[in-house]
Symmetry: C2
Subunit: 109 residues, 2 copies
Amino acid sequence: MKHTKRVRLEAHGWRVGSAQEFLDLSAEEAALVETKLRLSRAVRERRATLSQSQAALAKRLKSSQSRVAKMEAADPTVSVDLLLKALFALGATPRDVATAIRTPLPSAA
Amino acid sequence: MKHTKRVRLEAHGWRVGSAQEFLDLSAEEAALVETKLRLSRAVRERRATLSQSQAALAKRLKSSQSRVAKMEAADPTVSVDLLLKALFALGATPRDVATAIRTPLPSAA
DNA sequence: CCGTATTATGTCAGAACTGACATAATACGC
DNA sequence: GCGTATTATGTCAGTTCTGACATAATACGG
């Protein structure tokens, strides 16, 4: 279950216009996906550092363990808003968030 | 129409638990709101720099002028996801986004 | 192995967000 | 002032996201 760019676009009722426009939108979508990946990784790392279970973080967030798992899996049904809420709940500062967003993934394109 | 923390929490069906918990959640909510403000400001600045109208940006985003206006007004009905989509559509890099998130507002608390 | 603690995956009703539209308010040149 | 271009505010039906639940998979000590 890995809706990526393509699927997401189709879900939005896409009908490709100019190739240029499509490519640009792809790049923008890719940047957003990459950002989500970085944030989700940051959530997992901070939580692990604090030795908290997903269930514990979920409780603090008034969310559920399954949703935390999806956050860390960068599931497309998880919004950036939720990822940020999780990070702040884990004690991250805006500076920490900024760093996470700038930090490239281990081996991602 | 300025739903802030309080209203948002109530909208979520809040019932205050311990004072400590409430305060913590307030701080976290505040951090998120502050982040949204910074991003919305970044959208306005980038768009202005490019001398684009809200309508032009909206078209590029496949959105509407009114929603771009709400983005720049940091309206609570605008998600961080949408703000990021706008920034990337305006040519921002993850690094730019990170900078925006770290940059304090002119005179905010 | 077996318990059990933790994490992953699927599903869905309800809540939040979105684009679009209408229309009001502002800004700016003429 | 008047036109008009741009931005602001309000509303709402349709889509997306969310929490919760069930349950499967994995990790790990005994």
